[in-house]
Assembly symmetry: D2
């Protein structure tokens, strides 16, 4: 870490700072400039419990403390230079083939789910999404069908051969959800629910980690680190829009995460344009952008009748629109060098 001292401090205060740096296990490097002195503290910042504490203790001596070392290890390209890919029932996410996961926001009924599953399979999707346990802003909103929803997903899988992705939102459900799903989805609101991340990781199932509403890239990578450091290499990052000042869209889909995750980490990156925009009429353009920028997969909300959906109707696309979308994406998938 780098410690910037205030201008014009005395020898005594400088010595006190250096003593504290050594006590914390670092080797100090002193650089004297015209206006102020800067100390490079060389050592392992990850092990240090209170790196940021110096200013509090020497309020008259230290101006700022800046970390130097990256805080994530296992997710980083430095640790694992090649791309990782995740095998879901024979479909590789993160490989040459571009993958599409699609299905309703919530599982509502057998007919709704099977109709959707058949349609998205016919259009080219390989994985079926559908919420059985739903985290809802209000306690008065539909909370999902629970176990019944999981069983319907299983039924759809057996009939269509599609893989399944569904959300886990409680440690209490981890065994049940893991029994039925192929990918465990961790939602944006639980993206720093570390106990849930650990529980999900320990099932050994692939974990799709959505970015939190106001999560910085570094925090997202560190949340992913919770999965990898619990002995589960099957991690997928999923951008679903961040919260900004803009009110035209529900969230601001940050497509720059695609090149950034590709640069910093080795796990696949998935884009969710449905949550990202919160508006069905923007989904098509978002998908094209995601494909062109190098995303590995899309996660799209599709419903047979969006107007009567039990949750998030405004952002789900209809079955014919989804079929058109899959068709329209083809030239962009080709341009991106994917199948």
């Amino acid at each position: 870490m780098i410690i910037v001292l205030k201008p014009n401090i005395g020898k005594k205060e400088e010595a006190a700072v250096i003593k504290e740096i050594k006590k914390l296990g670092y080797k100090p490097h002193i650089m004297r400039g015209v206006a102020r002195t800067v100390i490079g503290a060389i050592g392992d910042e990850l092990k240090n419990p209170s790196l940021e504490s110096l200013p509090a203790n020497f309020p008259n001596a230290v101006e700022s403390v800046m970390p130097v070392q990256k805080r994530y290890k296992l997710v980083s390209r430095e640790a694992h230079p090649a791309n990782s890919s995740i095998n879901v029932r024979g479909n590789l996410i993160g490989g040459k083939k571009f993958q599409v996961m699609a299905g309703p926001c919530s599982v509502e009924s057998e007919m709704q789910l099977l109709t959707t599953a058949r349609a998205v399979k016919a259009a080219g999707a390989t994985i079926l999404r559908g919420g059985a346990f739903k985290p809802r802003t209000s306690p008065y909103e539909f909370q999902g069908l629970g176990l019944k929803g999981l069983k319907l997903l299983d039924k759809a899988r057996r009939e269509t051969g599609l893989g399944i992705i569904t959300e886990l939102l409680s440690e209490a459900h981890v065994d049940t959800v893991a029994e039925y799903t192929d990918i465990i989805q961790i939602g944006a609101r639980n993206s720093q629910n570390f106990q849930l991340l650990i529980a999900a990781a320990r099932t050994g199932k692939p974990v799709l980690l959505k970015r939190g509403l106001s999560m910085r890239i570094e925090e997202w990578l560190l949340a992913g680190e919770y999965v990898l450091s619990n002995d589960n290499p099957n991690l997928l990052f999923c951008e679903r829009g961040i919260r900004t000042f803009e009110t035209y869209t529900r969230n601001t889909l940050d497509l720059s995460t695609i090149p950034i995750i590709k640069k910093e980490a080795h796990s696949p990156i998935v884009i969710d344009p449905s949550q990202g925009a919160g508006r069905a009429d923007l989904v098509m353009a978002m998908c094209k952008g995601a494909v062109a920028m190098g995303a590995d997969a899309l996660l799209i909300e599709v419903h047979p009748n969006p107007a009567e959906a039990w949750s998030d109707g405004a952002q789900q696309v209809s079955l014919p629109l989804f079929a058109k979308l899959m068709e329209d994406l083809k030239p962009f998938i080709a341009a991106a060098g994917r199948d």
Copy 2:
């Protein structure tokens, strides 16, 4: 809800919208303006599963849908016009007496905790804070002493008579934490972990609900609604800073939440200036502002030696500084008409 139709749509589309509104259980009121037609849909919006879905279904007919009804009920002043107050070992939070909760970010050792407990009690605090289970951004950071930490909090309570507040971060710990604590703290990162909120509420213990990093007022009130609708009236809201573009401070403490929560809800409002600023040197001014604006209590991080704290050293105040702070607050507490 209010449905704004696009300009110049035909009779047929208008009729389709009205039919859908009726199907969803609303009574339509049609208002024709010069440029466009607006439909007021009168009925209970809370029961309606897909209120926002109309635009998706009639992309050529509907321009926007605006909710009218407030989504929260039990937390609102409409439901409960008088202030609620919470009794913690004889100390009333939300009453005439201003309360201070103080203690270390993490429980580290018996000496650290007891030294702090005695000092904050001597300075006038009535509740001791201390983290036993810690949610940390990185898996490599100190995760808390766990049960051992809870037992030290219990020991400090028995010695000093202070009430205890500590964080719950896993449903799996709910019985254990509830056994040792007087107030269950739900941290910012778990503020929309609804399963955890329900589990905390069901213990019957007071629940202090921190505002999430990018949580809107309405979402915060609705998260509180999860507590009240699970038969626990003992809710406290705690503002601890939101995430903005600013980098000078760790978070932006939003003190406007004090008059807003007082206006919209009946539960007490607590301010956490330590997390709010992330800098010990700003805590004093933040506390003065919170008191003047009508907060019911403060939650302050205090450590015998911030420079060597195992977590968040930069934002913890030292024991002498805390004593001075309590002294300096007195005229502001008096000006605010509190004891």
Copy 3:
């Protein structure tokens, strides 16, 4: 506009609100629900000077006021359903041909500018960018060459035939800048400097309006309205990244603006990936996304030696990288149906 009354207000307060609504020139429509009464006020909201004022005056009667009407007219698709295009020295922006504007952040010297101009032309750009007057965060940073810079741009135009785009940052410079440039650029920091917008509009030159750092879509469209309502139809919107909580990138490039501007307005949309990311290593992916999502043009910072640039070196791409970028974009331009 829609006025939501508070629950349980009396006849007298309701009558006072209705009287005020009529005084403001609206026709009231009263809708009584179970919990509260909602009033639709039908009339021209654009003319009304104090639409938002009702709550202030009747603090015990009115809960909220929501506008219904769109505030922009001339920029909207309703006013002008077809796409507009801008002719710059024979190159149409907003037509079938995809356009690229490229050049250095600042004009530094004849050699720097001409080297860049020749290289970007060879690679396929049709318009040369270069700052002569530079808005800089600090007064101690390079403020641009001023008139000398404009003359160098003119020289580059005469030699290469490229069109010119350069920034206007003062009303005092408007005649000088308009004399030399083909497109007047209004920077993000001046995006709501309305006097500057009016002055730029009145030159009759095409105006490229960058989105402000925290500008909502509606505000951006209304700033564009200042150009069109001052009798200048030659408006281009340019997304250059918004300010969010993220610190990995300098700004968050909001590519969703492409489909949104295309939906709401008729003017071309240009993407600036250099400002948008603030990092040269992300520019390529951003450009691919912009093309795929339907942008009409790109505005890219290119410098012969970014490490020694006088401003914003980190985000400028080198000449060989720019040539490669133009080559790599070709399949995406084709996939998007552009030339």
Copy 4:
């Protein structure tokens, strides 16, 4: 500045970076850690034109570049340790006496202005605010009375003896506005309109600089530096709320700016709770907080009839409410040790 090299780079790349550092005028200090090498570049960062450019040029060698030096000088406490105060017609802003500036958002008529001026004077305000030139989001909204408004302000000053503050929004108006006003207000949207700042500074009149909607503290201080470095020491900072994700209030008033500006700079800090909240019902609490936290003055919007105001009706307080506010603030002003 601190340059962090990537792990495992070769001797040759390291030498190239060091050569570039020296070329830019810095003296390099090399610190070798286990995982990577860090270089401290000691020298004057303010003079360096392209400090941030290294990563672009050596994409395989440099991981990050961090500035060390503060970019502002004249506004800083280091340059001027004592508080500055501004004398406005015998009233000192930044001295022991707490000051209140109040008046309507826009000057509308002689009666409106004089009624307000007399009332705010009677209640204890010493400076009259009122907009003559108004920056409005839409071109169809009331743009201010212009010169006629300035003359009415002058008339109110002659009658009441109050000082005058009014906004400058165009370089073209600078002489006219300076002739009539005692303090020149630079609005949030023009906070980085550097040409306007320079023009305002050169009048020699006190300049009140509002914080931009998404302006970081450092940028605000640097905008202030434009005033001081143009030989005008009479600068006031004014916080008026920043733009965040919250929609309950129009802006989020960041009261932490009070202790921060006091710590970093020597100029007075003024709080505008009217713009800050955008709601008259929150103004009282905001004022109390501002006083308690050490603000030097308040800037409050007051209107004889907010419901019929020509701009921003929702955030203006009525005359009786203002009188009550001034009364209620007294104990907090005393507690803060001010008169």
